[in-house]
Amino acid sequence: MAEHVDRRTYWIVFGTLAVLTVLEILVALPSMGVPRTPKVLALIAMALSKAGLVGLFFMHLKHEMRALKLTVALPFLFPALYAVVLIGEAGWRLIR
């Protein structure tokens, strides 16, 4: 028959997501006066952490077998590379 599912991890992930969202807003508010570069880096790091938490725990990727994990994760290397190269290039042309 049906097994019992432990829900504790879900609530921990929910709490972490909520705390990270509050932190993101605090960092982003102009009145907090966070300089541009650390602000951008902190916000991207927090957003990727949150996305990772949702993928690993809510979408159960952590409990899948390695082949499925790699199928899902590895292709993201390409858009990440494009992002760094293309956005960097656009910014570089601006300041050149």
Binding site: M1, A2, E3, H4, V5, R7, Y10, W11, F14, L17, A18, T21, E24, I25, V27, A28, L29, V40, L43, I44, M46, A47, K50, A51, V54, G55, F58, M59, H60, E64, M65, R66, A67, L68, T71, V72, P75, F76, P79, Y82, A83, L86, I87, G88, A90, G91, R93, L94
Partner: protein
């Protein structure tokens, strides 16, 4: 019916159960198919966010005079609503795994409510539920600037996903009420819904906060 099918399905049998795969374990073809669809969908969003990054990174002026800033507190509330709906969705999947149909239906209904709430919020953000509110009345016009156009394209493409997801939830809810779903169906629906939440986390950061 193999042991793996019984374990996966809760109280309902999986129609086309396969033996565990050497590489993908007990992941069903439906689940792997949804993951691959989500991957391609993620690249659509990736392309949009990349175009946004290039346009913004290469522009001297992003916010033109007269264009309103985006309302962060209100959107933060929508973000939190979507995170909450992700929690109700995992609870629905957990209930389905345990074979508890009533609880599955309850949490699916709450998740659909969260999706409808998000869509209402987005409508209010664009057009205003009260007169003279909404970005279109405040001067953020599609086509007038890269800022306006990327905002509307990215957020409405996401909104279309929320709408699709909400309909998908309601269909699954109706099928669950009729006893036509198993835990695997609810899990695959969950993957789609969490993906919509995951994308919003990124959109919220890149479009609103940065």
């Amino acid at each position: 019916m193999s042991a793996i099918a019984t374990a996966e399905a809760g109280s309902h049998p999986v129609a086309h159960a396969l033996p565990p795969d050497e590489y993908f374990g007990s992941a069903t073809p439906g689940k792997i198919g949804m993951w691959i669809f989500l991957l391609s969908d993620a690249f659509s969003f990736g392309g949009l966010l990349l175009a946004y990054g290039i346009l913004r990174g290469g522009s001297e002026v992003w916010h033109h005079p007269g264009e309103p800033p985006l309302g962060i507190p209100f959107t933060a509330f929508l973000t939190f609503l979507l995170i909450c709906s992700s929690v109700t969705m995992v609870l629905a999947v957990a209930a389905a795994t345990e074979g508890n149909r009533k609880q599955t239906m309850l949490f699916l209904a709450l998740t659909a409510l969260g999706g409808a709430g998000f869509l209402t919020g987005q409508f209010h953000e664009y057009f205003g539920l009260i007169p003279h509110h909404g970005l279109v009345h405040e001067g953020l016009i599609f086509g007038h600037s890269a800022y306006a156009s990327t905002f509307y394209v990215i957020t409405s493409f996401h909104g279309a996903h929320v709408f699709t997801g909400t309909v998908y939830i309601l269909v699954t809810l109706a099928r669950t009420a009729a006893g036509k779903t198993n835990a695997n169906d609810v899990e695959i629906l969950g993957l789609f819904w969490h993906f919509v939440d995951l994308i919003w986390i990124l959109v919220f950061t890149f479009v609103y906060l940065l």
